[in-house]
């Protein structure tokens, strides 16, 4: 009897739908889904973390720096953003591969929601993963390199840089996942595009570490904010075309 009732026609079409509510519901559903799946598997976070920690160690030995040089702001800012961008690429690739492997990307695209809700959901989830990695990497880096990275300005730069990186990275990962060579394709597509973000983030991070005047750092912060807005706006506009054949 229950089987039959489950198949009976119900008037879901007549349900009054608020577009904004529907958008937010879909967005939060995608975020919840990504976080729940990752809490179970821990594939993405563990890969990103192990990679990040290995890069810290490799730089530590490869550069073979004396204690004074390793505290220099240019070294710290450069190494930090190399770690964040490379680990981030790993996470972005994995995040979209999960959608592709079982055809789940089609499941998402079949939903009667604004597709930008899917983009923003994936972007927020990827940002959370990236921030978790950064929260773990920063104290470890501070200990190993004896640098104080817990400055509000530096944390703000990390956040702004991560937002821009993930915003454009999620869009390009969605494009790259359609290709057989997706693992190779994403960095090739992403790194040239994200260069202004990385440049701004490295310069601003170095500025905060050196303790220079805010007036000198502000242009780099402005650059980060502007690129964040541009990347999010472009992704919002083109995501629908990127995912459709």
């Amino acid at each position: 009897m229950k089987r039959e009732s489950a198949l009976m026609t119900r008037d879901t079409q007549n349900t009054v739908r608020n577009p904004l509510l529907s958008f937010l519901r879909a967005l939060s559903a995608v975020v919840w889904k990504d976080l729940s799946a990752e809490m179970r598997s821990r594939e993405l976070l563990s890969a990103m973390l192990v990679f990040a920690l290995l890069v810290i160690l490799i730089f530590n030995f490869a550069l073979d720096l004396d204690p004074k040089t390793r505290q220099e702001s240019t070294i710290t800012a450069g190494v930090l953003w190399v770690i964040f961008t490379f680990a981030g690429t790993l996470g972005l690739n994995r995040s979209m591969a999960v959608e592709k492997d079982r055809g789940c990307i089609d499941g998402l695209l079949l939903a009667p929601v604004d597709r930008s809700a899917i983009y923003f959901g994936k972007t927020i989830a990827n940002l959370v993963f990236m921030l978790i990695v950064e929260i773990i990497v920063l104290p470890i880096y501070s200990l190993l390199y004896n640098v104080n990275l817990f400055q509000p300005g530096l944390l703000l730069v990390t956040l702004l840089g991560s937002v821009g990186y993930v915003a454009v990275g999620t869009l390009l990962a969605t494009m790259a996942v359609q290709a057989r060579t997706r693992d190779v394709l994403l960095p090739i597509l992403l790194f040239p595009v994200v260069l202004p973000i990385v440049l701004g983030a490295v310069k601003a991070s170095g500025g905060f570490l050196d303790g220079i005047e805010m007036a000198e750092i502000r242009p780099w912060l402005n650059l980060l904010v502007v690129y964040d807005i541009i990347f999010i706006a472009i992704a919002f506009m083109v995501f629908d075309f990127v995912v459709e054949e």
Partner: protein
């Protein structure tokens, strides 16, 4: 319910669908048969709004694709040979996720109903990656009917299933169709299609080469009908 006129789909220089005409009335169960590369999956992906037509007109429930895709998607349930399910979520979590994407009212009750319908209520808290292929496909059907769609599209749903799982899937398919839903199913399995469908359309070389009602053909003659239709499509193509 579904109306397609002069549909053309090109991928670069390759034309997959060549002016295809197709019409399905409400409540019909159409089996779309055809050889590999005939364009069945491409056609179904266009109906599902996952792919844009290059030319031609596609209407589902009166809504035009791709312009009114959101309205079409609300009325569509799609099952492919891939489950479209997340392995690291439980059966219940998968349905709850898709229910939220479709704004399904009374979601808790609906998820329970659907899990019982597909015979997975006892496995509701198990991760989907621990399910057999047959169980995943049953859950995929549950996902597709969760929002109670008017039109169901099945793209070779029996692929990779053993005999028992296929039989169980047939039962669920029959129940889906018995409730008045319009169904289009692609398949290579003529015997299975003969048991389920009310009409058979043969897609070959990018067009509907032949169409016959279930009532007008004996199950034993379906293979001969299929062969004749596909061979005729080839000979038409080869003519200068």
């Amino acid at each position: 319910m579904i109306e397609v006129r002069r549909l053309i789909k090109r991928f670069g220089l390759k034309t997959v669908l060549r002016g295809l005409d197709f019409r399905v009335e409400r409540g019909e169960f159409v089996a779309l048969l055809g050889p590999n590369g005939a364009g069945k999956t491409t056609f179904l992906r266009i109906l599902a709004s996952l792919s844009r037509p290059s030319l031609g007109e596609v209407r589902i429930a009166g809504f035009r694709l791709p312009g009114q895709a959101a309205a079409v998607r609300r009325r569509l349930g799609v099952v492919s040979h891939l489950p479209l399910l997340y392995g690291d979520l439980t059966a219940e979590e998968n349905l709850r996720f898709y229910g939220r994407m479709y704004s399904v009212p009374d979601l808790d009750g609906r998820v329970t109903e659907v899990l019982e319908m597909v015979g997975l209520a006892s496995r509701r808290r198990d991760l989907v990656r621990t399910f057999s292929r047959g169980m995943q496909q049953r859950l995929a059907i549950g996902r597709a009917v969760l929002h109670d769609p008017d039109v169901m599209l099945f793209d070779e749903p029996h692929t990779g299933l053993d005999q028992d799982a296929s039989a169980m899937l047939d039962t669920v398919l029959s129940e889906v169709a018995a409730r008045g839903r319009t169904v289009v199913m692609t398949s290579h399995d003529l015997a299975r299609a003969a048991d389920l469908a009310s009409r058979f359309d043969i897609l070959s070389r990018g067009v509907i080469a032949a169409s016959v009602q279930r009532a007008d053909i004996a199950a034993n003659d379906l293979l001969a009908f299929y062969r004749q239709a596909t061979q005729e499509a080839w000979s038409v193509k080869r003519e200068p």
